[in-house]
């Protein structure tokens, strides 16, 4: 039996909705506009996504900051109240447990937002399995509140204007990677952050399950006449891909370090001990084995996750994600390839597509950046 978010009942009868099994969740891959139509709406206007399957874990107590700062690679101690921070969370060997958003309410209260497919694994890791929690005599209070929370992502350059109308000027004043938890939308209490997974300006809105339908309907009904449309996970994936935002299971896994995925900005090797530090420092000192690069097909073909990548016939890595970019109209791939081969932008590589080596060239990433 597939899990459903509470918003399922709201959009299950929308025209053109196509539902798929997404890691055990029955979720829309697209609505009537189709993946490309939804992608363009988010780049040009705004779109609404049900991302209630995402996980939320609260961390509270005197040791909350110390604990989270040990758990993740980014520097949580540098955060101020009402700030959000992106970070990988690593195993001792430098492989990635998950990547997540840290919301700081105060030095003693945080919210962690994790990937849907990793909720159980993450909660077990955070609450029982890591070394810090095993040894600590003053553990913070942890709660997995994923089952009680819904999340709506409202993404696109015009989302800020609509939020100003619906929530007030305060919403528009929320800075990038900051949040407010004292504003109301559709009369309901919400956590509203200026964050997203599309490469566009926008908001992520967390509400209690019982309020989700009212909030969704208010957002959609008051903006649909201006072209705002519901969007599915298909467009969420193509949008994050064009902007080179990593997807756990593709660009990040337990076998790929955040340094290999070119996330060194989010790995503060100089901070005090944290999980995976020794392994990552050693990787940095001894040479990071692989690098995440972008490629564009020269020959005809679509690079897909898992296809091997070759240089002069020799295997040097694999594709982590690939599709046709709706904005650039090109067949593009993110590839994890060996470092130290002297590869630079413009150089030719090959992607094995159905047993044939097809030519591609390295290009700069992100593939697309909203200016």
């Amino acid at each position: 039996m597939l899990k459903r978010t509470v918003l399922y009942d709201v959009y299950k009868d929308y025209d053109g909705v196509k539902l798929i099994d997404f890691g055990g969740w029955e979720l829309p891959v697209n609505f009537e506009a189709g993946i490309i139509g939804e992608h363009m709406a988010v780049r040009e206007n705004a779109g609404l996504f049900d991302v209630s399957h995402m996980g939320e874990i609260t961390v509270e107590g005197e040791t909350a900051e110390t604990f989270i700062n040990w758990l993740v690679t980014n520097d949580v101690a540098s955060m101020h109240d009402n700030q959000c921070m992106y970070s990988p969370m690593c195993y001792p060997d430098g492989g990635v447990v998950d990547d997540l958003l840290v919301y700081r309410y105060s030095r003693v209260k945080y919210l962690l937002v994790v990937n849907a497919s990793n909720i159980e694994k993450d909660y077990k890791w955070i609450s029982e399995e890591n070394e810090w929690i095993k040894k600590s005599s003053s553990k913070p209070d942890l709660e997995n509140i994923s089952g009680k929370m819904s999340q709506i992502a409202f993404q696109g350059p015009k989302a800020v204007d609509y939020m100003k109308e619906l929530v007030g000027a305060e919403a528009a004043q929320i800075k990038f990677f900051h949040f407010r938890d004292d504003l109301k939308i559709a009369g309901k209490s919400a956590i509203i952050s200026r964050t997203g997974y599309t490469g566009e300006d926008g908001f992520e809105i967390y509400i209690a399950n019982e309020d989700a339908a009212d909030v969704w309907n208010t957002l959609y009904q008051s903006t649909r006449d201006r072209g705002v449309i519901p969007c599915g996970l298909g467009a969420r994936d193509t949008l994050r891909f064009e902007s080179k935002l990593p997807l756990y299971g593709h660009e990040l896994t337990k076998d790929i370090s955040p340094l290999e995925a070119n996330l060194s900005y989010f790995v503060k090797l100089e901070k005090d001990d944290f999980c995976g530090k020794d392994a990552l420092v050693s990787q940095k000192e001894n040479g990071i084995p692989r690098s995440l690069r972008g490629c564009e097909m020269v020959d005809r073909g679509v690079p897909r996750a898992g296809y091997t990548v070759h240089l002069n016939g020799e295997e040097i890595g694999f594709v982590t994600s690939g599709t046709k970019s709706p904005m650039l109209n090109k067949f593009l791939g993110l590839v994890l390839v060996k470092r130290g081969l002297g590869l630079k932008t413009g150089d030719e590589i090959e992607v094995a597509i159905n047993g044939k080596l097809k030519k591609a060239k390295l290009v700069k990433t992100p593939f697309y950046k909203n200016t």
Partner: protein, 125 residues
């Protein structure tokens, strides 16, 4: 769902339009709808021999690749090169945008295929 009366259909959602000894093959309205935005068509090689129900080529949507089987045996005699640059023609008009044409080696194979009514019933099952 658009199901023209003059075509034959397979359970894999291909259609074939027979003109003399040549059959033009594409995918149905139902198939294009299920796949969503089609972004790439791998065209088979002209002169390639294909067998009935064998994968002749593939088409790809934004999300994934899907095989296209040949409804009949024979030799590929023509491919729709317009699809190289405009794969989305299949979404726009799936019955106009054929993918390849086969010279039938055994026309009796056509008897195994469904007519429009049977395909409609098959879809409703």
């Amino acid at each position: 769902m658009n199901i023209p009366g003059d075509l034959k259909y397979t359970e894999d959602h291909e259609w074939i339009r027979v003109e003399g000894s040549v059959g033009y093959v594409g995918i149905t309205d139902h198939a294009q709808h299920e796949l969503g935005d089609i972004v790439y068509v791998e065209l088979p090689e002209v002169d390639m021999e294909v067998e009935k129900d064998e994968e002749a080529t593939s088409i790809e949507s934004v999300k994934a690749a899907a095989p296209v089987n040949s409804p009949v045996s024979g030799k590929i005699v023509e491919v729709n090169e317009d699809l190289e640059d405009e794969a989305e023609l299949i979404n726009k008009d799936p019955y106009e945008a054929y993918i390849f044409a086969v010279e039938l080696s055994d026309p009796s194979e056509l008897d195994d295929l469904m007519d429009a009514d049977a395909y409609k019933e098959f879809l409703e099952k």
